[in-house]
């Protein structure tokens, strides 16, 4: 099964992909601007995300908040910022799609932010950081992992939310400059998943977003650091925190999402640490009773280097060192013998469910189309995306377990609970 996709570029540079879904109750509009926290200047961490908040604060023809306007029409909207991009999205009843496009066109053309709005949204972001990280048990793990894997000068070394003292310096001038630099038609890709025919959607996008004046000059180039070499010497960070149980993280610098080895690294991580049938759960949680829980993941970074983790939470009296040795043994075994046929078959079946589950909602599908478009330069990649993952072989898995996930190339975060 494949999703229908049609793509056009407007005269001002806006790129548009439309995917019809006759079953969707709403029209999903999804915009990706090619700018994220990795593009911030040193000392201005967190600015890309603060800016995203201000995109809701008003534009030339819009007073009041975008979200409020759309929800009063029965729609939902939001935005997120990552290291690599900023997205804005709304799903609205189909009859409100023209208005959603008009609103997006207006805040692409112009931003009207007051000093009071800047001060208020800065305060809101401070509370967002406290709510999501500082006031949560284990809430500083993200910051510690990034700091351990990336050198301080690297754009991925600080979480997107940023350092709050950096935000104090943000001025209205910075806000307007950021808008002029990055929020231009030729730095925008738009995806619409909607029940209307393609031609009607293209006509609406052209009418509203095509009306935005072409920007002068070329858009700024996103920061693109060279791939980092593998970690050496097993960097290790031990912290103590007031939580009831410790956590052990092993981490590796891994290939970015577009690298040909990325699917094999994902399969290797899944075989070791995903779900309850994985090796680490089977051996450490179920059989040996050494671990409370295990996990595996990748940050999905796109620029040169990503970050993968294997995570183990011990049972009450188990030492982290014992678990670390055991995880390394499991990696060595996977590198030596490769996965079984049943493991390959299971990860394929799981990936099929996760992939199509992630595309079930029109809004999430629109975002996935934009993501593949951004990463591979072709929205049609969405319809090929799963193939690369389903064609990973046992030999591929054994190879990446001894290379990208080599125990000698790990770093370790010992997050020790003390009470």
């Amino acid at each position: 099964m494949s999703f229908p996709l049609a793509t056009r570029t407007l005269d001002n540079g806006v790129q548009v992909t439309v995917s019809r879904d006759e079953f969707s109750p709403g029209s999903a509009l999804n915009l990706w601007y090619r700018v994220g926290s990795a593009d911030e200047t040193p000392g201005a961490s967190g600015f890309a995300h603060l800016f995203e908040h201000l995109m809701f604060a008003g534009s030339a023809h819009v007073r009041g908040d975008h979200t409020e306007i759309l929800e009063a029409l029965g729609g939902v909207s939001n935005a997120t910022t990552t290291a690599d991009r900023t997205n804005y999205f709304e799903t609205v009843p189909p009859g409100a799609l023209p208005l959603a496009l008009w609103l997006e066109a207006d805040r692409l053309s112009s931003l009207r932010v007051s000093g009071a709005a800047l001060r208020t949204q800065r305060a809101v972001v401070f509370e967002e950081k406290r709510q999501r990280y500082d006031n949560q048990p284990y809430g500083d793990q993200l910051e510690l992992l990034l700091g351990l894997a990336f050198p301080r000068s690297h754009p991925y070394s600080i979480p997107t939310i940023g350092i709050m003292s950096d935000l104090d310096a943000a001025s209205l001038g910075d806000v307007q400059a950021f808008h002029s630099a990055w929020y231009r038609p030729d730095n925008l890709r738009v995806v619409v998943v909607s029940p209307q025919p393609d031609d009607e959607v293209f006509r609406l996008v052209e009418k509203y977003l095509g009306d935005v004046p072409t920007a002068g000059g070329a858009p700024p180039q996103p920061a693109h650091p060279d791939p980092l070499p593998a970690l050496t010497g097993v960097p290790r960070l031990a912290v103590q925190r007031p939580v009831p149980r410790s956590v052990l993280h092993l981490l590796w610098r891994t290939p970015p999402v577009t690298h040909p080895d990325r699917p094999a690294v994902a399969v290797a991580l899944d075989i070791l640490g995903a779900g309850q049938a994985c090796r680490l759960h089977h051996d450490l949680v179920r059989d040996a009773g050494l671990a409370e829980a295990v996990g595996a993941g990748d940050f999905g970074f796109t620029r040169g280097t990503s970050l993968s983790t294997l995570t183990v939470q011990p049972q009450a009296v188990v030492e982290l060192a014992q678990l670390e040795d055991s995880v390394i043994d499991h990696l060595a075994q996977l590198a030596a013998d490769g996965p079984t046929n049943a493991e390959i078959s299971r990860t394929r079946a799981q990936m099929e469910r996760e992939w199509f589950g992630g595309l079930a909602d029109a809004g999430e599908r629109a975002d996935a189309i934009n993501e593949d478009w951004a990463n591979w330069g072709d929205p049609e990649h969405l319809n090929r995306h799963l193939d690369a993952w389903l064609s990973v072989t046992a030999d591929d898995v054994a190879r990446v377990a001894s290379t990208w996930l080599n125990p000698g190339a790990r770093a370790v975060l010992e997050y020790e609970g003390v009470q």
């Binding site: 099964m1 109750p25 029409l73 066109a105 048990p137 779900g275 049943a342 469910r353």
Partner: protein
């Protein structure tokens, strides 16, 4: 710049048809065919009130569901999870609420034939191995301990305890440390024997279903015929506590967690549509009063809102916000004032926007198989038919501003609300006193 476009009103959305039928053993089935939804959600629910749990082993109902994928008689040990995950399925959720226990799995539509019999095994023939149950008990105890270092979790717990101090709703659904620690393998098996009967259960299926789905269901569940034991029926609930403010002391909290709540009639009440419209004006939308004032105007919080969670007998109204320490008392006073609709009734504009939001945005949240399955499960647990949804949205369209204000003020009075805050009591208590709010401090 093109002119601001007109918005064409949406066609009323209808809940997709729910095909209801039953197997000869009495198992009711609700199936919803959703073309294009390639992942199927399957929920097995047991219609059993949480009040039926023995007091000293509360949490046993949740544990009995969570342990279902740890092994079955036909697939002992890791054999079950290997088979389940091997066919691309996953346990999405397992637990217990006031009106029933549920276990939900998802599988690719192409693997339904493998996944359904496994779900049937999980609920009909769980092995409940002693080691597995013991591990899940430890896991639950760790989750409770982690909650004790989380101010938002402590505040939510204190609100329920303050509101319904001597009732099951006032205690954690999955059990607290003393009761969970007491649960044995035999307790779990005994609970399962009491509740796991097809006549007390319902199977909910949503997604792109094959034509032979009924025979697949029959093949998986048709031979499930245990003895039936009588369970006590649900008791009616006592009136909630009123008018108290509890501070849970958490000296090193980075924010103050604020919760305000009460008990209102649930979705079976004729007041429900009007209550929902009023709640949308007050707290369910980004542009609702609470968020507009506390976040957008004042910057005191990342977000403030309120919601109504319906159970069969009643609903739980809660307002929540995580606030900056030095303004938490002010935020509490402001929130209580914003919940006073006698003083400031719902306006025409607010009612219009709230109705548009509920009738427009709700379908957008029901566009996937998992959401439709969850809603269908909720209908069953609340004791309403699937046709309820369309009647509800039609009633919402008829709500007037006066009707919304009237329903809200009859059930939600600021003087009667229970307030729970978690943060440093040393500063919070005097700050609240300065706003005329007297408190009871809990340190545990």
């Amino acid at each position: 710049m093109a002119r601001k476009p007109q918005v064409h009103p949406a066609q009323p959305w209808r809940f997709p048809p729910v095909d209801e039928w039953a197997l000869p053993n009495g198992l009711p089935v609700s199936q919803v065919n959703l073309p294009g939804q390639r992942v199927v959600t399957m929920t097995l629910l047991f219609d059993v009130p949480l009040t039926a749990e023995p007091r000293q082993i509360e949490g046993v109902a949740a544990l009995a569901m969570q342990a279902c994928d740890e092994g079955t008689l036909p697939h002992p040990g890791a054999g079950l999870i290997d088979a389940l995950e091997g066919c691309g399925a996953v346990t999405q959720d397992a637990g217990a609420g006031m009106d029933g226990s549920t276990i939900t799995i998802e599988a690719p539509a192409s693997r339904l034939e493998q996944a359904l019999p496994l779900l049937a095994e999980m609920v009909a023939e769980p092995a409940y191995d002693e080691a597995d149950v013991g591990r899940l008990v430890e896991s639950r105890l760790l989750a409770i301990a982690t909650g004790l270092v989380s101010p938002p979790v402590r505040a939510s717990k204190a609100l329920r305890a303050g509101l319904m101090p001597n009732h099951r709703l006032g205690r954690l659904f999955a059990g607290d440390s003393d009761t969970v620690a007491a649960i044995t393998r035999d307790d779990v098996a005994a609970w399962h024997d009491r509740v796991a009967h097809p006549a007390r259960a319902r199977l909910v299926l949503a997604g792109e279903l094959p034509e032979n789905v009924t025979s697949l269901v029959d093949g998986a569940f048709g031979s499930w015929n245990p003895d039936r034991l009588a369970l006590p029926e649900a008791e009616s609930w006592p009136a909630p506590a009123t008018g108290r403010v509890v501070v849970v002391d958490h000296p090193d909290a980075a924010q103050v967690s604020l919760r305000i709540g009460t008990i209102t009639p649930g979705r079976r009440s004729p007041d429900w549509p009007a209550l929902q419209v009023a709640n949308a004006a007050v707290g369910a939308m980004f542009g609702s009063r609470l968020n507009r004032v506390l976040r957008e105007e004042r910057g005191l919080t990342y977000g403030a809102g309120s919601g109504l969670t319906s159970m069969r007998q009643a609903a739980f109204f809660t307002m929540q916000a995580e606030c900056r320490q030095d303004v938490a008392a002010e935020a509490t006073a402001l929130a209580l004032r914003l919940l006073d609709l006698d003083a400031s009734p719902v306006t025409e504009d607010e009612a219009r926007d709230a109705i548009a939001y509920i009738t427009g945005a709700t379908p957008l949240h029901l566009a996937t198989a998992d959401a439709i399955a969850a809603q269908t499960t909720s209908f069953a647990l609340c004791g309403v038919p699937p046709t309820w949804f369309d009647e509800y949205t039609a009633a919402v369209r008829q709500v007037t501003p006066e009707g919304a204000t009237d329903a809200f003020t009859r059930h939600i009075q600021p003087a009667n609300l229970v307030v729970a805050l978690c943060g440093p009591a040393a500063t919070l208590v005097p700050d609240l006193a300065r706003h005329g709010i007297s408190t009871v401090v809990h340190t545990a």
